[in-house]
């Protein structure tokens, strides 16, 4: 601690260089933080809670998956038919209905894609909506109850609502793009709590089903999507054993053969979805992140090296005064550590603040993942990255400083 004043004074000695080194460190820690945040979010999707697994049922042979909605009733029972069969703890169907508020022109602003589902399942099945603070949970339940009664009701995320230039209470009509001829009119009943669902919307599946029946009544023929309106089906099972059992029940059932389905864990489903991206993710994890770390070390090594070269005489003086090599090594390492640690912490904190609370999440458009957020762990890993790379980068300059030969230095000075 007695040397801390000297360390701090040295850090402050060349303010421009220290500032530039800090900025360089901060920029690179931002990159590392963002890369690791994306990877952490993806990993979290793959590492499901094993005590509450989600199984995902999709059409076996076709992408995108399109199954008859008639499958939903049996699947919600886990295809249990005989004694000894087990049932899932919860379930929900997923159908997607998309359209434009402007029948003439489809723009990004006028488009809306809604998940058609049973509204009451919002509060039990959808990630993050099943774990809201009390006040938000009560408001969401109120909207869900209202949507059960009013099939034309819809709940929309705040960003999508703003893009559509609509507000709660407004009514609007969508000209469908995936259910041709079935244009639906909605009444906005509520807004999702800020976060993952800011660009999403949820409608009552009953409204879509009734509209498909109405279409058949009016035209005398089934809509082309009528038997293909369910895209996914989710089941909640207590554990892996239950998943295996229910999966077997569904696969062995004759009710799900035309079209055939497959059952996988949500993590496996995510992994399948991620398959085309695996090279990019591998590159992010094993090339980009290490390259950034190496660059960070070099930036700090360069700054500390210059600083050490400028101070050979001072290190020699310290040796004359009785400072031991390890004490000089410690002084230089501490200088780098202060720069790296503070820059790393500040950078991680700013990234966390800006991404999570100013921007409202990283808008990574990856399937149904929604926005990615910077985990709170970034505070320690950003700090650790800054400190670690500073330590690595300053080792050689610090070693050079502590090996200064006094007689040679003063011979040069004289």
């Amino acid at each position: 601690m007695k040397f801390m004043l000297l360390v701090l004074q040295n850090v402050r000695r060349n303010k421009l260089r220290t500032t530039l080194t800090c900025l360089g460190t901060m920029v690179l820690v931002v990159v590392v933080t963002l890369v690791w945040s994306v990877l952490t979010n993806l990993q979290a999707q793959l590492d499901q809670d094993k005590s509450k697994m989600k199984a995902i049922v999709t059409e076996r042979w076709r992408i995108p998956s399109q199954m008859p909605y008639a499958y939903a009733r049996g699947l919600s029972e886990g295809a249990a038919r005989k004694e000894g069969d087990i049932r899932p703890e919860d379930s929900m169907s997923w159908s997607f209905y998309g359209g434009s508020t402007d029948p003439e022109k489809r723009t990004r602003e006028s488009m809306l894609f809604a998940i058609a589902m049973e509204p009451r399942k919002m509060t039990t099945m959808l990630d993050e909506l099943d774990d809201l603070p009390d006040s938000q949970a009560q408001e969401l339940k109120r909207v869900a109850d209202a949507m059960e009664k009013n099939v034309q009701a819809i709940i929309v995320g705040k960003d999508r609502l703003a893009a559509l230039k609509r507000r709660v209470g407004d009514r609007f009509k969508l000209t469908s793009i995936n259910y041709k001829g079935i244009d639906l009119e909605f009444e906005i009943l509520g807004v999702f709590p800020p976060g993952r669902y800011d660009q999403s919307a949820i409608m009552n599946i009953e409204y879509l089903n009734r509209s498909l029946e109405k279409y058949e009544r009016e035209t005398g023929r089934k809509h082309v999507q009528a038997d293909r309106s369910m895209n996914l089906f989710w089941l909640v099972v207590p554990d892996t054993a239950a998943f295996n059992k229910i999966s077997g029940q569904i696969m062995e059932s004759p009710d799900y053969k035309a079209p055939a389905v497959r059952v996988e864990t949500l993590a496996a489903g995510v992994a399948t979805f991620m398959e085309p991206l695996k090279d990019i993710l591998w590159g992010m994890r094993w090339l980009l992140a290490p390259a950034v770390l190496a660059t960070l070390s070099l930036v700090i090594a360069n700054a500390i090296s210059i600083s050490v070269r400028e101070r050979y005489t001072e290190f020699a003086v310290l040796k004359v005064l009785g400072y031991k090599p390890w004490q000089i090594l410690t002084i230089v390492l501490c200088e780098a550590l202060i720069i790296g640690t503070l820059s790393g912490l500040l950078s991680a904190a700013l990234t966390w603040l800006v991404v999570n609370h100013v921007v409202g999440g990283l808008p990574v458009q990856l399937g149904f993942f929604g926005k990615f957020y910077v985990p709170a762990a970034a505070f320690w890993w950003g700090t650790a990255v800054g400190a670690g790379t500073a330590l690595v980068g300053s080792l050689l300059p610090a070693w050079t400083a502590c090996r200064v030969r006094v007689a040679q230095v003063f011979a040069r000075v004289a």
């Binding site: 009785g322 006094v406 007689a407």
Partner: protein, 238 residues
């Protein structure tokens, strides 16, 4: 070693390699410096006086021979022990002061004390006492850039005496100063010897500085050539 001898250099050889050539800087040099003596070392450039000073200060080790300071053979010590020895037993005064520019006069003088097991209060007392001796009590918060050359050298002297070492070595302490400042520094060195009973070994080119010494040794080509206190004193007066 006799108790009234502070420094004994015994048959010391030192050489350096420069390219293919080996330079014999000190050749079988032997000398003794009694306690409380003010010794001046003179000689032309390359005669080996700074090398001799470095050996006495434990900043370099001889190829052959021994260097004793009081009862310790410093030429046998490793780097770590030498560092500890210097902290407690040696004060070094540089030609170009070599104060740390980011620290105040007070903090520069305090630097060697940070290595000793002293409380903050004890350190403060010793630093203020050292700065008082060099008449810089009113400049303790000034950084080197805010001090004149003479004042900087006085801070350098305060730093050299703050641990109360028995031996002070000075490498051309007046070499970078004007005549007036040089006189002040030489007065201070004399005071250290007279009042504080320090042993001083000073390398100098300046005959007036050498004239302040009790004894002057001349080096040429790595050997002591004569001992001429009177001549130097006369030169100083002239």
């Amino acid at each position: 070693m006799s108790s009234d001898i502070c420094v004994r250099v015994n048959n010391v050889h030192k050489s350096f390699q420069r390219g293919d050539e080996i330079l014999h800087v000190l050749i079988g040099l032997t000398l003794e410096v009694p306690e409380r003596e003010f010794l001046g070392l003179m000689g032309p450039s390359g005669s080996g006086k700074t090398t001799l000073l470095n050996l006495i200060a434990g900043l370099d080790t001889p190829d052959e021979g021994e260097v004793w300071v009081r009862d310790q053979c410093i030429s046998q010590m490793n780097e770590s022990r030498l560092a500890e020895w210097r902290t407690r037993n040696l004060g070094f005064i540089f030609q170009f002061y070599h104060l740390l520019p980011v620290l105040t006069a007070y903090q520069n003088v305090e630097l060697p004390l940070l290595l000793l097991p002293l409380s903050g209060r004890q350190r403060r007392q010793q630093v203020l006492a050292a700065l008082d001796i060099v008449h810089l009590s009113d400049r303790i918060h000034h950084k080197p850039g805010q001090l004149s050359g003479g004042q900087q050298q006085r801070v350098g002297i305060a730093r050299a005496i703050v641990t109360d070492p028995a031996l002070i070595v000075a490498d051309e302490p007046t070499g970078d100063l004007d005549a007036h400042s040089a006189e002040e520094i030489l007065d201070l060195l004399g005071e250290l010897r007279n009042s504080m009973q320090k042993t001083i070994v000073m390398v100098t080119h300046d005959p007036r500085a050498a004239a302040r010494a009790d004894r002057i040794l001349h080096l040429e080509k790595g050997r002591l050539v004569d001992e001429a206190p009177e001549a130097a004193r006369l030169a100083g007066r002239g």
